[in-house]
């Protein structure tokens, strides 16, 4: 037996210890499973492991013990029981899911026995263990997926999103921000202008209180002042300063507004390019809707942060420092009082915002509940009326709506009390400063102008403070969005062109599966060492139960996925070595889900060959049996289909899909349940037309309905990822095997409905 290996990480120390004490060789173990419960469901630890002839079970509890007089408690594994049983005693291991736990069951002497119990989160690993055990007993190669930690190695918290090994708490904010900033590289000049202009703007706004208060009162309006009497002059100066600030603001907002959309454009283009490059496997893991929202919403978050957040942050920081400096210059005593108040203000703002966030969140929750209730009842009107439950639904609505109103009242109350109180607090600070400052003026320590300027500067402090208290959140959201965006850009396509693809212009169309194994998820093979040979120009029919692996075979032939093991060959060349463009051009796949793009019917049919003439389009539509229903539509071939367009039935869409692939005219045609949504008569007509095009083309037809495969040269039956039968139609009937079984079931069903076969 090749490749027996222990794929999970080696036995943890406490368990290896147990083995040593029991004088058993842990080195010989093949697989182990650690369950976090005892058999009776109480917390503890159960270890299951097996080597070539024995199944070991060790049960114990974890206790906190004060070891040897030490002050701290240590957790120690206390072994309660250790069992050794012959491997062959147990067979048919399986997992039974309960409510919050799962149990590993096995058969001993024909009777089921419970081997271990674990929390339901461990179910997958239990199933892997069971499969590895069963495979080993059967003499097959047992495989277990490598143990993948679901916990962030940095902070120890579990990864919140399935399949995404990213810990939001530990993501390097700075490195991601740095990467975002690199997108500004090409705009260096403009960014420099922006920074300079923002600095200038801040400078001007710092000057305004000085000129407008201190100079005004002390030098212009006071006798003996330097500019005594020059009221108009000073007013002009004040206005000029303000005008400059405004001009600078306009300038930098304008420049930012001119570059940010292009940066986001750049980002969106990279995302879209990356998404096009990715293989089908990526899309099946994440829902398309989530991806769309992600791209749009995340790009927007990034945009607004840089357009609004960053400039504001920069300006406010500079302002803050500038104001501090000015205040200290004018009167360090007053400045110290003002600065002492700042920490209090920051704390207060933080508390306020977190309180509000809760109220906003609650409001959002009730709003969302009400929306979903409304859309639910509107969509389910039929059922509501059928059961005469209108009044009950009305009560539900009343309740939810009432909750929303209450939440809004709470928020409104909070807002109406908090904001005035905050301003009162700020006013109080100002009053204190005025009092202290007033005394200082009377004592002659500072001038009146200084006091008034000081008060103005204090006001200029509050804006930045408030902003600082929530910019951090904004930044986090932007970084989170950027991370998701970079994930897409960085994702590597699973299926890609080889470095030096084989040069080939055309293909004949022979297909070979050479011991192909494929798994969508690790250690769960869908196809197991499949071997198949299809000669160019033949028609092969594939039948099997749902989930047997038929569509997977089609996906592998079309190179939407690469095999995990083994080789798929076209014309004797490994599919991975052929240029993808050649492969895609020469393989036509009609699958069960038909996607029609937004456009006319003619455009959709022509998708593979936009230069196809109208005659070719009509010809393809006629072959596919679509022409008749198309001509019934008022706009005929120019009817808009796809999202937001004409709704077509399942059978009509299938026929369009077939027409599409006929225009493509591929050497290999794969029909995956391509006529499933049609009645047998229409199906027959279409098959006849497709048959007329059979020569020189390799056709693979996958179906449940055996009538679909009537014209196949060879038929193969797939069961559980393996080929169980292969041969001509008549051969298989005579064999009286799987195919015969399916055949009789289907013909019996027809007989029952009174249709002779």
């Amino acid at each position: 037996m090749k490749g027996i290996f222990m794929t999970n990480h080696s036995l943890p120390a406490r368990l290896a210890d147990v083995f040593k004490k029991q004088k058993c060789d842990a080195g010989k173990l093949l697989f182990y499973l650690s369950c976090d419960l005892l058999e009776d469901g109480n917390p503890g630890e159960t270890l299951l492991a097996f080597d070539s002839d024995t199944l070991y079970t060790a049960c114990g509890t974890v206790e906190l013990i004060r070891t040897g007089g030490a002050k701290k408690l240590e957790s120690v594994f206390m072994l309660k029981s250790f069992n050794k049983q012959p491997l062959r005693d147990f067979s048919n291991l399986r997992v039974e899911r309960r409510i919050a736990t799962s149990a590993l069951l096995g058969d001993r002497d024909g009777k089921p026995v419970c081997l271990a119990v674990a929390s339901i989160g461990e179910t997958k690993r239990m199933e892997d263990f069971a499969r590895a055990y069963n495979d080993y007993l059967k003499g097959e190669t047992p495989r277990m997926a490598p143990y993948k930690s679901r916990v962030c190695p940095n902070c120890g918290m579990p990864y919140p999103e399935e399949g995404r090994d990213v810990c939001p708490g530990c993501s390097g904010k700075l490195s991601i921000t740095g990467r975002l900033l690199s997108y500004f590289k090409d705009y260096r000049g403009k960014v420099a202008i922006i920074i300079l202009v923002m600095l200038a703007s801040t400078g001007f706004s710092l000057v305004t209180p000085y000129v407008g208060s201190k100079l005004l009162y002390d030098e212009v309006l006071t006798e003996g002042g330097r500019f005594f009497g020059l009221v108009f002059g000073i007013v002009a100066l004040i206005f000029a300063a303000r005008l400059c600030t405004t001009l600078m603001n306009i300038l930098y907002t304008w420049v930012i507004g001119s570059i940010m959309p292009w940066i986001v454009y750049d980002l969106k283009l990279k995302i879209f390019t990356a998404m096009q490059r990715l293989s089908v496997g990526y899309y099946t893991n994440k829902q398309t809707g989530a991806l769309m929202t992600r791209v749009n919403r995340d790009a927007n978050n990034i945009y607004w942060f840089f357009v609004d957040g960053v400039p504001y942050l920069f300006v406010n920081s500079v302002l803050f420092i500038g104001v501090g400096v000015m205040m200290l210059r004018m009167s360090w005593k007053l400045a110290l009082i003002a600065i002492a108040a700042i920490p209090l203000v920051i704390i207060f703002f933080r508390l306020m915002w977190s309180g509000f966030r809760m109220l906003h969140h609650r409001l959002w929750v009730h709003d969302a509940k009400l929306s979903s209730l409304v859309s639910d009842t509107l969509a389910g009107q039929r059922v509501i009326k059928a059961f005469a439950k209108e009044d009950a639904e009305l009560d539900r609505f009343d309740n939810a709506s009432g909750n929303l109103a209450t939440a809004e009242v709470h928020l409104g109350n909070a807002e109406s009390t908090t904001f005035p109180l905050v301003y009162l607090l700020m006013f109080a600070a100002q009053v204190i400063i005025t009092a202290v400052g007033g005394i200082m003026v009377l004592r002659g320590e500072i001038t009146v102008g200084t006091l008034i300027a000081f008060t103005s500067y204090m006001f200029m402090l509050y804006g930045p403070l408030e902003f600082m208290s929530w910019v951090s959140n904004w930044w986090s959201r932007c970084v989170d969005s950027a991370q998701r965006v970079f994930e897409i850009i960085d994702a590597n396509p699973d299926v890609k062109d080889a470095e030096h693809p084989v040069e080939k212009d055309d293909i004949d169309g022979s297909i070979e599966f050479d011991h192909v194994t494929f798994e969508y998820e690790p250690a769960r093979p869908v196809l197991k060492e499949m071997c198949l040979n299809v000669k160019a120009g033949q028609m092969l029919g594939i039948v099997g139960k749902a989930g047997a692996g038929k569509s997977t075979m089609a996906n592998l032939m079309a190179r939407l996925y690469d095999p995990t093991e083994g080789v798929v060959r076209i014309d004797g060349v490994d599919l991975r070595e052929l240029p993808m463009s050649l492969v895609r051009r020469n393989i036509g796949l009609v699958s069960q889900e038909i996607y029609l793009f937004i456009g006319s019917i003619a455009d959709n049919i022509r998708y593979a060959c936009p230069e196809a003439s109208i005659e070719e389009v009509i010809a393809a539509a006629k072959t596919a049996g679509a022409h008749d229903f198309i001509m019934k539509l008022p706009d005929a071939y120019e009817t808009r289909v796809g999202a937001g367009g004409q709704d077509l039935s399942g059978g009509e869409r299938q026929r369009l899909s077939i027409a599409r692939v006929i225009i493509q005219n591929p050497k290999i045609l794969i029909l995956d349940e391509a006529t499933a949504a049609m009645d047998t008569e229409t199906e027959r007509r279409i098959q006849d037309s497709i048959n007329a095009l059979k020569s020189g083309r390799t056709t693979i037809a996958i179906a449940h309905r055996l009538s679909t495969l009537r014209d196949a040269d060879y038929i193969t039956v797939i069961l559980d990822g393996k080929i169980v039968e292969y041969g001509r139609h008549d051969e298989l009937i005579r064999k009286k095997g799987e195919f015969y079984k399916l055949y009789t079931i289907q013909t019996e069903a027809l007989k029952y409905t009174g249709i002779g076969v």
Binding site: I618, T623, M631, P634, A636, R640, G645, I663, G696
Partner: protein, 172 residues
């Protein structure tokens, strides 16, 4: 480009009728046709590409909507027949042409339009206007109202400024 399609006779035979295969004649205010010797006193003409190729690839249908053949181009036929065919198509595809838009009001997602067409005025409502105001190419628009009536705008650009401004906010 697909070559096999043109080679396979089963595929290219889309049933083209040339001027030698079919003769059209007027039959009691309907259109009749004689196709390869067989007489069809009443046939209907249907466009395959009503917007892009209004006078090419016209499908000839019998009263049960079964296709008898496809005519490649109206121009292949002598003037007399051409006129008959044109008239038959005009009757089938007739929809009023909007000459002037007098007012467009939007209320709760519906558009209420007051327009002047050839030979009169019309007032109608359009629902779901993103779907029901359809631009065919750079110039033409088709508006479908809540009752299914269709209205044409042949060249939006050439309409008077007032009409354009009234409708512009609702064009996508």
């Amino acid at each position: 480009m697909p070559e096999a399609i043109t080679q396979s006779s089963a595929l290219t035979d889309i049933g083209i009728l040339t001027e030698n295969d079919v003769t059209f004649y007027a039959s009691d205010a309907f259109l009749g046709a004689k196709i390869r010797g067989i007489d069809y006193p009443r046939v209907t003409l249907a466009r395959t590409l009503p917007f892009t190729l209004p006078e090419q690839y016209i499908s000839v249908l019998d009263p049960d909507n079964k296709e008898l053949g496809i005519v490649r181009a109206l121009n292949d036929f002598p003037d007399e027949q051409k006129m008959l065919m044109r008239e038959a198509l005009r009757l089938r595809y007739f929809s009023p042409v909007i000459r002037e838009i007098r007012s467009v009001k939007e209320k709760m997602g519906y558009l209420y339009m007051d327009v002047r067409i050839d030979g009169g005025e019309r007032v109608f409502a359009v629902r779901d206007y993103s779907r029901n105001i359809r631009s065919i190419d750079a110039y033409r628009l088709i508006i479908t109202d809540v009752e299914g009536n269709r209205y044409n705008i042949e060249s939006f650009e050439n309409m008077d400024t007032k009409s354009k401004r009234k409708l512009e906010p609702y064009l996508l």
